[in-house]
Subunit: 340 residues, 2 copies
């Protein structure tokens, strides 16, 4: 019997679900003092990691996370047929300069902080579609390079409102494989750009909520699943302000997220002691929370079915200067320990 | 018999090659005075197209080109299952703000000026893989928004060296379909990031040449094809300086490109009368030359087999300020009028 791969409006179901063969997570010093510290492969004690700029440090983060993931998979870099990756910096320079050194076929992605899911969804399609045996999906962000680019130079010491999030320094990478014993990527739901008119770049959590809820509910409709079918539903980097709004918006549409939903931005820092205000953000927030915490807890069978929905705020400093609101996007992937 | 979809090192062969069901090209006033003017669907007489910023004009270019392509395909926007697109602006704002209005599932791509091929290659994999029936691939660039971002504000009147290229104002879009009578996308070759150490952002043609030649020759090796198997081999936006270097570099490796090779950047402007120096560049250079000139000449059977290799320079103003060289990338897609 042929499986219907295109499902409903925005989703795909994988015929032979690719395995996440391995993963790696590298984080900065602040993330290494947070509640998920024990899950990360490497914690830096220097945010520059021996480089002379934050951007070059971010390139190193991404490159080393990919190399670590490939090493963890016990294969060689030469066996990786494609790398799908992206970051937040203008023209993806963290990623493209890492690719210069890794010398593998490369497809550059930009989904802001939804990039981890974009790379996993497209990578899974390329593997299940028969175009590759091994693919790397990866993303990175760096607190200092992101603050400098999107908001104010750190040296100004600008006060941050309580709705502001803290860009995670780190990189997460996965190796996807045609063969393996799981965890498997079983479904993906590709998001639309959604804009409810929020203009405050210091409240990005709220600006991404409508996209997160839109993709999540479309996923339930397309797959005929419900929130309770998952052990964990986790958005990318909405933080505490956004998380509460997601619960309320989903509830208004008849979906109860009170039992099994959280947000990577809430999990990665201890808001009470780490002064991170609304929580973590950045591509690496979902990237390292997934490749560190979630995947390792899946190995322990704490979670067997996870709906992972990284969220992206599609602003640039220029669009804000031109008076534009902040559109959001969210892509979802389903990861399951075993196949039904 | 099962077709081997992954081919050689970097290439894929489509089992049921998707059809380019329709295309559209919109260009600015200068492109509309060039040698390809008669091929474009729409020529603007105002580079702002009624908008108040260049960036918003670029958003409109991309949105309208996609709408025109969908209209040309005689289908509705609601039938488009995914849009794969990107542009040159920081955080892809030309594209993401267009997506806000088009309201279709969106995958953001960044391949600099190689984006047209990246969208067509990934879109073809998604269709041939069974994940969609209709996909849009698209890209845009705008002379004024690109000059402002990458080089100097136009108001400064900075003199341009003869190696400089002229960023094309325009947008090209294609609708890819599972069913159709061609032209078909039959192969794709995904490029690696290649860097020969060129640091001059006023000579981007030369910086992209090594990537173009690398992808082109890998394509010949992977597919066991030769230059003479194609009616036309066309790179993206190397311009006259880069074109000559490609011919020389390929010749050194035993490939004769003297008969059937050109570059979109050479074709789109009349260098003698339009003061464009080395030629055209920008995502739209390959985008509109392909969707305008090349596809329409394929309909007339001037070309039956085309190897299309858009090229991207992976610099940012910041990487240049930090003393970095300019890495390049090139992705190739093969378009054929009929199937063998």
């Amino acid at each position: 019997m042929t499986v219907q791969k295109h499902l409903g409006e925005q989703s795909v179901r994988f015929e032979k679900p690719p395995t996440i063969l391995s993963a790696a997570s590298i984080v900065g010093p602040k993330e290494g003092k947070g509640p998920l510290a024990s899950y990360f492969d490497l914690i830096l004690d220097d945010i520059l990691w021996g480089e002379d700029t934050w951007e070059k440090a971010e390139t190193k983060l991404l490159k080393e996370a990919i190399q670590q993931a490939v090493s963890n998979a016990k294969i060689n870099m030469e066996q990786i047929q494609y790398i799908l990756a992206g970051d937040l910096l203008d023209q993806l320079i963290a990623t493209t300069f890492a690719m210069r050194e890794l010398k593998r076929p490369f497809l550059g992605l930009y989904g802001a902080c939804s990039t981890m899911a974009e790379s996993m969804a497209l990578g899974a399609m390329m593997i299940d579609g028969g175009y590759a045996d091994y693919i790397v999906g990866a993303t990175s962000s760096h607190h200092s390079s992101a603050e400098k680019q999107f908001r104010s130079p750190l040296q100004l010491g600008t006060q941050r409102p309580l709705t502001a999030s803290w860009t995670v320094t780190g990189s997460g990478a996965v190796v996807l494989s045609k063969k393996g014993t799981g965890p498997y990527i079983t479904y993906a739901t590709i998001g639309k750009v959604v804009d409810f008119g929020i203009k405050d770049p210091m409240n990005m959590g709220a600006s991404m909520v409508p996209a997160a809820v839109d993709t999540m509910i479309q996923h339930f409709i397309d797959t005929n699943r419900k929130p309770e079918d998952y052990d964990l539903i986790v958005t990318g980097d909405l933080g505490s302000v956004g998380k509460q709004l997601v619960i309320e918006m989903a509830n208004e549409q008849g979906y109860d997220l009170s039992k099994n939903y959280t947000d990577c931005g809430v999990e990665i820092f201890d808001a009470d002691t780490q002064d991170t205000h609304a929580g973590g953000s950045g591509c690496a927030c979902a990237g390292v929370t997934f490749t560190g915490y979630i995947l390792k807890e899946m190995q322990k069978e704490t979670f067997k079915k996870v709906l992972f929905i990284p969220t992206g705020a599609l602003l640039s400093p220029l669009s804000t200067q031109q008076g534009e609101s902040i559109p959001g996007i969210a892509h979802a992937v389903v990861i399951e320990s075993s196949l039904e």
